[in-house]
Amino acid sequence: MRVTLTANRSKVLWSVVGWLVVFVFFFPVLWMWLEGLKTEPQAASSPPTILFVPTLAEFREVLSGDFPPFFINSAVASIGSTLLVLVLGLPAAYALAIRPVKRARDVLFFFISTRFLPFAASLIPLYLLARDLKLLDNIFALVIIYTTINLPLGVWLLRSFLLEIPNDLFEAARVDGAGFRHEVLRIVVPLIAPGLAATSLICLIFSWNEFFYAVNVTTSVAATAPVFLVSFISGRGLFYAKLAAAATLASLPVLLAGWIAQKQLIRGLTMGAVK
């Protein structure tokens, strides 16, 4: 009786501590939402407005203004590059896991070493190349760059999922005389659907949130959502509510995707190392 009492008390104590910590970390996100639901005078008041009647006016303002094209550019760059990663990455992962090439390990490490080459090391030539090919401020340049960023990660992840498919399945298919295409479409794709989801999620997160290349190779026509937020940096006017509404909308797709696929998130972030 006494033991359960102290156990309960410690559970309550640690729960309170835990929730306080979580509140501190989550608070900026909550504050972003709240600020977005205020009117401009409420958002720029001193002391800060805590109690207010929420309004969607600023969200409407952002959505009816110049934000949608940036959002669409982000979607095109992220989804386009993610599809390219899957198309190029799945066969490569197959060649590194199911019927491995010679020195598969070296190839694998080559892939991942390119992911950690600093962006700074390739920005200048990519910038010049884009300029010479008239691809500056063209969404196609971002698709190419984001595919490059995410392909190594995609290959690693997909490989880690492919390795989990029992070998018997492939042997049975080969005995039946199935070709490569059949093998991939009938066995691999259905079995690694969770792997494809995890890979897509990670690619989407990294390309949706990417800013360094976006701000350097685009200006207006092909600029993405993170670049749109640049216009809020200078404190020309007091647009805090609009800023918060735009920040909320820009963050929404990745936040929702990450929340829905938490399990895949861990695996993706650690390149398949943590299951």
Partner: protein, 318 residues
Amino acid sequence: MKTINETTLPSVVESGGVRESAASAARRDAWTRRLPLLPALIYVFLVTQIPFVLTIYYSFFSWNLLKPGSFRFAGLDNFAALLTNGSIRTAVANTVILTVCVITISVVLGLAVAMLLNSEVFGKGLMRTLMIAPFLIMPTAGALIWKDTLLNPLFGLLPYLLSPFGLGRLDWVNRFPMATVVAVEVWRWTPFMMLIILAGLQSQNPEILEAARVDGANALQSFRRITLPLVRPFIELGALLGSLFVVQTYDSIYFLTFGGPGEDTTNIPFLLYIVGPGGGYNIGQASTIGVVAVIITIIVATFALRTLFSIFRVEARR
């Protein structure tokens, strides 16, 4: 590339011998294995290695895009200029300070939060869900929210909350620029560390901890002797991946301080931006900074982390 040459030439050689046909079958097999790999490999090779080599190439040239016809071989001038110019030293120092602070603090906090979420608490799932939000929020959006709505000296929430302590109206971003950048990055990376370490903790067998408790081990002892050694690989993984990302921090600096005041928060990626596409258009100098960035990354990825981990190992052994 060597492996491809080995097999392309002889496959056309016709001969009746059993050994030869076996060899050509082997070659054909090697090719069918290699074929699916090639598109991705060639793509990555073209888009990463060629620009990297070009960066090294440009670093030996003097070339300013604003001055047509300024392209000329400069030898090691760019590197010499970097050594004498204080900017790169400041940027290297800032990069190291930022990375070490962010990774150390977020690993410690991430470990603490992970242990909280792994213990008996109410609403674990929801806690984890809310906790990972800072990592998922667009970094540029997060930095804006911190700067304009939380830390703003006039209308921000934090100066208001701190005013009873005599800290009101303090302009955090300008008074403590590096600390602000570190704080915002820690806010973002702690959830990342927490997720990875939590996965490690959840692979732990609770019976072992229970056995240790029965044997009279106190909480600190079982943490040091059982939990820490178990999660150490996860901590290492988180710190390694995290530092490779944090070395490249750009978004939050651009939005919070724009490298300033002066050069107080200018790290290597930001310096490259300022010298290159961000206004200087000095391709030679910017490429030289890119080369330095690669060197720094390699150093961070090996030397500094090894030191960090040896500390963990010593701690664990005590």
